[in-house]
């Protein structure tokens, strides 16, 4: 009977040592060190989009040299650069960009705080999902620009208008991403969590949220994209000195003045910020998540 613990005999000790050696041998045979790619490989990968950008600029410059269209319809890269430089020298560019990024980031963070409990509640409760799910999906389909006139009537030309539009753009995406992530949790993790005794708050924080993280992360990425787009739309429509500078306002100034170089420049800045945030914030998090879970090819 094994119920009484006795000092292991020397034979048992030998068996134990034998077993640990056997295990170590088999483990070594069955696993292999993961080859780390050299850093130069990563840098090359990060820089490869420059090839496409270079090609676009080249075609654009060639068309300008060929005088395919007049200046006021298609200004060349040089003119667009000069226009942005001009904005920079007037201290407009940096403040506009920083203002817009700050608004988008704040709106995005508020969206996360609002959307996460909503997503969790709808992901956990079938009843709540049946009631509110369709509305949430509908809101995600609705372009948040459609809310701009309503927000202006409610809140006037104020920050509240801008944040309302940003939130209505980002919250449904984030909440739906979290719900999708929760739907895709392999049931075995939840069962394992139950067996380990994860209940209530612990179940949510230690099991459900980490297990749903890949879907949630996609929702966050999409939510950021919607926040950024909505912000640009709101800034473009809600123009007022009270609101201060922003890239959308810069774009509107270009439109008003018929300054195509400024319009194109503003568009490029909007594009650049979007790509930058994806590369610097989301891409590393996504890569890390996939690598940790062994999902990276």
């Amino acid at each position: 009977m094994p119920t009484e613990t006795t000092e292991p005999s020397s034979a048992e000790r030998a068996q134990e040592r034998n077993l640990s050696e056997l295990n170590a041998g088999l483990d070594a045979l069955e696993t292999h060190d993961v080859m780390r790619r050299p850093i130069s490989h990563g840098i090359a990968r990060a820089l490869s989009p420059l090839i496409a950008i270079g090609a676009v600029v080249l075609v654009w410059q060639t068309l300008t040299w060929l005088r395919w269209q007049p200046d006021w319809i298609l200004p060349g890269p040089g003119q667009v650069w000069d226009s942005l430089w001009n904005q920079y020298e007037q201290d407009i560019l940096v403040e506009s960009v920083l203002n817009s990024i700050r608004r988008a980031a704040q709106g995005f963070l508020i969206s996360i705080v609002v959307a996460t409990p909503i997503g969790l509640a709808l992901g956990l409760s079938r009843k709540l999902r049946a009631i509110f799910g369709p509305i949430l999906v509908g809101l995600q389909q609705l372009p948040s620009v459609a809310w701009v006139p309503a927000a202006i009537i409610w809140f006037g030309l104020s920050d509240a208008t801008i944040y309302t539009v940003v939130l209505l753009g980002a919250v449904p995406s984030i909440a739906n991403g979290l719900i999708a992530g929760m739907d895709q949790i392999p049931p075995i993790y939840l069962r394992a969590g139950d067996v380990l005794g994860a209940r209530g708050w612990n179940r949510i924080v230690r099991i459900v949220l980490p297990a749903a993280w890949p879907g949630y992360l996609s929702g966050l990425e999409q939510g950021w994209a919607f926040a950024w787009r909505s912000l640009m739309a709101a800034e473009l429509i809600a123009v007022s000195p009270a609101l201060g500078l922003g890239i959308g306002q810069m774009l509107d100034v270009g439109r008003t003045l018929g300054d195509m170089a400024l319009v194109l420049g503003s568009i490029l800045v909007i594009l650049f910020v979007g790509v930058l945030v994806e590369r610097v914030v989301f891409s590393p998090i996504r890569t890390r998540t996939l690598r940790n879970r062994g999902l990276l090819r």
Partner: protein, 261 residues
């Protein structure tokens, strides 16, 4: 499920008669639907290792779910000394945590350990399954056998006295499975664990168990049991193991044949 306590009839706090008691348990998933488990009764002594074999459809996994408290019997009752832990066929390690953190999670949910204590104890438990060097490895970096050993370490971290195992080695290759049998036997000898081990593999059941129960299929019933009286070190290819296994296999085949028409 009732978790037995001191005042419960049948369990005396002094000397425990059983770790698991199943009395006339019947399970249907749908009322008036097919009977999955039919009037099962079983007592398992504390520290006993019971293997449970049966063909598909014998309701082995249903039985373990009932014992683990993940589901409730339709009739009858189940008493266990404490809430059992359950090991699945899949290791079910959390892929967002390292091997060590998986064990620490069990300790965290068990409660009562400081962060440093959790870490030290997780190290100790991984060492027990010969994985002291894999603390910081992710589940996907481990082989199937290593993952299942982490799962065992995680189950041990829960500090329960009963371990239920649902075909835990079925997905592993023969060499790895063989070593895991040795490993499990050793752990069982060193601790006072009561083990209920469910498998399709008759030899495995005899290699590990002190007692082997054969279940019928549709509905699941206990139809025969054998005491495994084999002295000394058992191996999957020991003649004594093979001998008893072939008897059990005969009965198992008889039971399967019954379903032919």
């Amino acid at each position: 499920m009732t978790i037995a306590s001191g005042e419960h009839p049948g369990v005396t706090t002094g000397e425990l008669e059983y770790a698991v008691r199943i009395e006339h348990v019947t399970k249907r998933y749908v009322s008036e639907g097919p009977v999955i488990l039919d009037d099962l009764s079983l007592d398992v002594r504390p520290g006993e290792f019971v293997s449970n074999v049966g063909a598909s459809g014998c309701g082995k996994s249903t039985l373990l779910n009932l014992l683990a408290g993940l589901d409730k019997p339709t009739a009858g009752f189940i008493e266990t000394l404490d809430a059992p832990t359950l090991i699945f066929q899949e290791p079910a390690l959390m892929p967002w945590l390292t091997a060590g953190r998986n064990v620490e999670l069990a300790l965290f949910l068990r409660g009562g350990f400081s962060r440093a204590e959790r870490r030290a104890k997780a190290q100790e438990l991984l060492a027990k399954v010969n994985l002291e060097r894999s603390f910081d490895q992710r589940p996907h970096e481990l082989s199937g056998g290593m993952r299942q050993r982490v799962a065992i370490a995680r189950a041990l971290a829960q500090g329960r006295s009963i371990m239920l195992m649902d075909e835990p080695f079925a997905a592993l290759d023969a060499i790895t499975r063989d070593l895991l049998h040795d490993e499990l036997s050793l752990i069982w000898e060193e601790t006072n664990l009561t083990v209920l081990f469910v498998t399709h593999n008759v030899r495995e059941a005899v290699r590990l168990g002190q007692r082997v129960l054969l279940m019928s299929s549709r509905p699941g019933r206990f139809i025969r049991e054998w005491q495994v009286d084999i002295d000394g070190t058992r191996r999957i290819d020991s003649p004594a193991v093979a001998d008893l296994a072939s008897h059990i296999t005969d009965d198992l085949r008889e039971e399967i044949r019954r379903h032919a028409n």
